[in-house]
């Protein structure tokens, strides 16, 4: 049995006005577990709570109630400094709009989290070279983000997210700003890293992207409405299954 990497217990998130009046309940009790090597896609309509869930897992936001346990550590009880350290050591994050720093080269963007951990230049170079090879951006290392395409930017972002060997790789609509060809390439990359043992949790609108995952959680109005497991199905079969499920739900 694989090790439990993530445990979400009865997660609630309520947005309030300054006076304390309840304004909007984004999450109404989300609970699920992720194990080492899992690849989970979270789907749902806009406002269903997918990004809120991911932001709470990533410790970018806090839950109103409930717990988030990552690798045995309850991050809900951490202070700001501990959260930052935890985030840079244990989590990798891929964003829809890449979030690359324009004044860094591709290489420096990837290396940035390692520099924050005071790793040596040698370690940084080895790891950056290894990841740039795996993500196919070796020739782009000395370019600036504004000089490369969207797909290349996202591969750079993936390399940066993985540079510190995170426990969890979180991705928020990673293909949202990409064309279909680049989306496919990116999802293949995710799959490759997942096959190498990387645990991934991804929020997506795309059925095709979700079909690369091993499990899909469907969120509706702040709760998990359904779960689909890929098991032995191929990507195409799983894509059809997800599409059929969404069709039946809408009907």
């Amino acid at each position: 049995m694989s090790e439990k990497m993530l445990e979400l217990k009865d997660l609630h998130k309520t947005y309030q006005t300054k006076r304390g009046e309840v304004q909007y309940e984004a999450l109404k009790g989300i609970s699920f577990d992720a194990y080492e090597g899992d690849f989970i896609a979270i789907m749902g309509e806009s406002g269903s709570g997918k990004t809120t869930t991911l932001n709470i897992i990533a410790s970018l936001d806090t839950a109103t109630m409930g717990n988030v346990v990552i690798g045995g550590t309850d991050i809900s009880k951490m202070g700001n400094k501990e959260i930052c350290r935890f985030r840079r050591e244990k989590l990798g994050f891929v964003f829809q709009d890449f979030n690359l720093l324009n004044y860094f080269t591709v290489k420096d963007n990837i290396a940035f989290p390692m520099v924050l951990l005071n790793k040596s230049k040698k370690e940084i170079d080895e790891r950056v070279n290894e990841l740039s090879e795996k993500t196919g951006i070796t020739k782009l290392l000395n370019k600036y983000p504004y000089e490369i395409s969207g797909g290349e930017k996202q591969r750079t972002a993936v390399a940066r997210a993985l540079v510190c060997r995170p426990t969890l790789l979180l991705a928020d609509e990673p293909t949202g700003a990409l064309d279909s060809k680049n989306s496919d390439q990116l999802m293949d990359l995710f799959k490759t890293f997942n096959n190498l043992g990387q645990t991934i949790i991804m929020v997506t609108h795309s059925v095709k992207s979700a079909s690369k995952a091993k499990k899909v959680l469907f969120l509706k109005d702040g709760v998990i409405g359904a779960t689909l497991e890929k098991e032995t199905a191929t990507d195409e079969e799983f894509e059809n299954e997800i599409a059929n499920f969404l069709y039946s739900v809408r009907k």
Binding site: A58, R85, L101, Y103, F112, L116, S120, I124
Partner: protein, 665 residues
């Protein structure tokens, strides 16, 4: 659409953009106050009581013109920063279908509001402080004069008029810019995802060129022997090193940062990693602002420290300018005795003792000297670049004045020629047809000239005795020469400064009764005149420096808001990656620090390079104590550095509040 509608929109715009407009208004108010106070003092009838008031009024008037010009220049520059931030807003108006004339109306009303508010508060503060400034200035001038003036409308009108012209020029430039640009350009101009500018060969060339310009102008300023003869070239050299500073900031500093980036041991430290990468693009993007800060900072140090040292060194200047306590000149031998008597009587009435009262006689007039043949004549000789003055003096007077012990026989003279003129070793000279045997001849600086400025070449012909002098005078008279001998009394007294001023006033009264007295000057008079003049310089220097500092703060503040707004998304990314707030703050502190202290360090270099020139200028004003001046400059540098550190810290706080506030949004 009614004009009131555009007026309302303009008002709302100002409220919406208050972060920018408040800073703008503060600088406007201060500049208007300063200009009003300058004008008020220039036109104040009370100033006529100050010694040398004509010069003071001239200096103050020039100060007013200078303030108006720098205000126009800086307002145009700061308006560029402000309008750039608002391009998108203007572009949106155009995109929504507003005609140019509608946008013009909005801009017009915005200008009117800012002008009215600035003028109201500026003049109000001016009214409140005018008496204080008047009394302060007269205290600095060490001149007792009760407050004269009250509320006067002329300076108010002048101030309102000058600033309406300045604001109108700025309004026209804004209107022109909107018309010149396409809507899409306006909409894009505030794009915060603009790419980082890469270092190009042109930047490297600029940096190297800038360094050459700076080093070249430093060399020129410090090797030019007499700056008075080449003041235009030196001013040009100063202009060149400011241009060089811009090139250095935009080229060489970026090269240095690139060099550090290549040093793995420096670059791959968490404290410098993001800092250095960001600095490269920020330095390039901000080169112009940093150069302006560099110019302002240099001007503040030079302007303020020289006027401060000039004022604090007034006593020193008066002592250098006028060694004796007083000097009286009269037109005949008999009146010289009366003058001497008046000096002793006045001293007795003033309660001071006369230590020494030397008399001398001389015949001085303008001439032409033929250096080649040793001939003095009035015509037929090539004139030199300055007038030549010859003085025939008695040997006894000369020996006493110059503490020498020369002796002469009949027909012999001692020739003292101006050190700045090439001379030969003459055995005889021809003085208007009379041959005089030169027993001794040497070059010296006879007179430093008033305020050290050379007005003429001075030669002395020292004759044996009074009979020889009168004989030369008689012979000259036969040729139609009309100038008389002049008789001088030079006195030294002991007593306090106040007692000497009192003696001055009493003696002035007494001397005015002697008809042939046509010149009287004293150390006390020099002191009073110099205090008045230096106080005006200090007044102008302080206010203009304050205006410069205000603009410096303004540019820093605007730049911080502008840059922080652009940098906020980057900071958000850093936080998402896991950078602590403390690390972000440290990184920004180092980054902004390096960025904002580059112009300061360069300004200190400029001041150090200009020090020789500054001390030469001070020598014109008889401030020859260079150690004292150095002390004033160093102390002022420390003071202004402290002020700048505080300004920087304030700007850094603004930056942090913006980038970390965005996180919660």
């Amino acid at each position: 659409m009614k004009q009131s509608f555009w007026a309302k929109i303009a008002f709302k715009n100002i409220i919406e953009n208050r972060n920018f407009y408040i800073a703008n208004l503060v600088v406007d108010v201060f500049t208007i106050t300063a200009f009003y106070l300058f004008t008020y003092m220039t036109l104040n009838p009370g100033l006529k009581a100050a010694p040398g008031y004509a010069t003071l009024i001239l200096v103050l008037s020039l100060g007013c013109v200078f303030v108006a010009i720098i205000t126009l220049f800086f307002k145009l520059y700061t308006n560029r920063i402000l309008s750039k931030r608002r391009n998108r807003e203007m572009g949106l108006y155009a995109a929504w279908g507003l005609e140019y004339k509608n946008i013009d109306s909005i801009l017009f009303y915005e200008t009117v509001y800012i002008y009215l508010a600035g003028s109201f508060f500026g003049l109000l503060i001016g009214f409140i402080f005018q008496k204080l400034v008047y009394n302060g200035l007269f205290t600095l001038m060490k001149c007792n004069k009760d407050y004269v003036g009250g509320l006067s409308f002329t300076p108010v009108w002048i101030t309102l008029l000058v600033f309406i012209v300045i604001d109108f020029i700025i309004l026209l430039s804004n209107m022109r810019k909107i018309r010149k640009n396409k809507v899409i350009t306006l909409l894009k101009e505030e794009d915060d995802t603009a790419p980082v500018k890469k270092l190009t060969f042109f930047d490297i060339a600029k940096g190297v060129f800038g360094l050459i310009l700076i080093i070249g102008s430093y060399y020129y300023i410090n090797t030019e022997v007499d700056f008075r003869e080449s003041i235009e070239s030196i001013m040009l050299a100063i202009g060149v090193f400011f241009v060089g500073s811009f090139f250095v900031i935009s080229g060489a500093i970026v090269m240095l940062e690139m060099f550090l980036k290549k040093k793995d041991k420096v670059y791959y430290k968490s404290a410098f990693f993001s800092t250095l990468a960001k600095l490269i693009s920020r330095t390039k993007n901000n080169a112009m602002s940093l150069s302006v800060i560099n110019i302002l900072f240099t001007c503040v140090i030079i302007g303020a420290s020289t006027t401060i040292s000039l004022y604090l060194g007034t006593q020193r200047q008066a002592s250098v300018a006028f060694k004796a306590d007083g000097l009286v000149k009269c037109g005949n031998f008999e009146d010289r005795a009366l003058c001497k008597e008046a000096i002793y009587d006045a001293a007795s009435e003033a309660g001071v003792n006369v230590i020494k009262c030397d008399e001398s006689v001389l015949l001085g007039f303008q001439t032409l000297f033929d250096v080649e043949n040793g001939v003095y004549e009035n015509e037929g000789i090539e004139p030199k670049d300055l007038p030549e003055v010859v003085e025939i003096r008695l040997l006894s007077d000369f020996n006493k004045s110059f503490d020498e012990n020369y002796s002469l026989n009949d027909g012999e003279i001692l020739l003292v020629t101006d050190e700045d003129l090439p001379m030969k070793d003459y055995e005889t000279i021809d003085f208007y047809g009379e041959k005089l045997n030169v027993k001794y001849h040497y070059d010296t600086k006879l007179y430093p000239g008033v305020d050290n400025i050379k007005y003429a070449y001075n030669n002395f012909i020292i004759v044996k005795d009074f009979d020889t002098l009168t004989s030369i005078h008689e012979k000259l008279k036969e040729t139609g020469f009309t100038k008389d001998l002049s008789y001088w009394c030079e006195y030294y007294v002991n007593g306090s400064k106040d007692e000497k001023i009192n003696l001055d006033e009493i003696l002035y009264e007494k001397l005015s009764k002697i008809s042939t007295v046509d010149y009287f000057d004293s150390n006390a008079t020099q002191l009073r005149t110099r205090y008045a003049r230096n106080a005006i310089f200090l007044f102008l220097g302080s206010f203009i420096s304050l205006i410069f500092i205000m603009y410096m703060v303004f540019i820093m503040y605007y730049k911080q808001i502008e840059e922080a707004t652009d940098d906020a998304p980057n900071v958000l990314i850093m936080q998402k990656i896991g950078m602590y707030d403390a690390e972000i703050k440290k990184s920004i502190f180092v980054e902004n620090g390096l960025l904002f202290f580059v112009p300061v360090v360069m300004a200190f270099c400029h001041v150090a390079a200009c020090f020789g020139m500054m001390s030469d200028i001070m020598k014109i004003f008889m401030l020859t104590d260079i150690a004292f001046m150095k002390l004033c400059v160093v102390l002022f540098c420390l003071f202004i550095l402290l002020v700048y550190v505080l300004m920087y810290y304030g700007a850094y706080k603004v930056y942090i509040s913006i980038v970390l506030k965005k996180k919660t949004n």
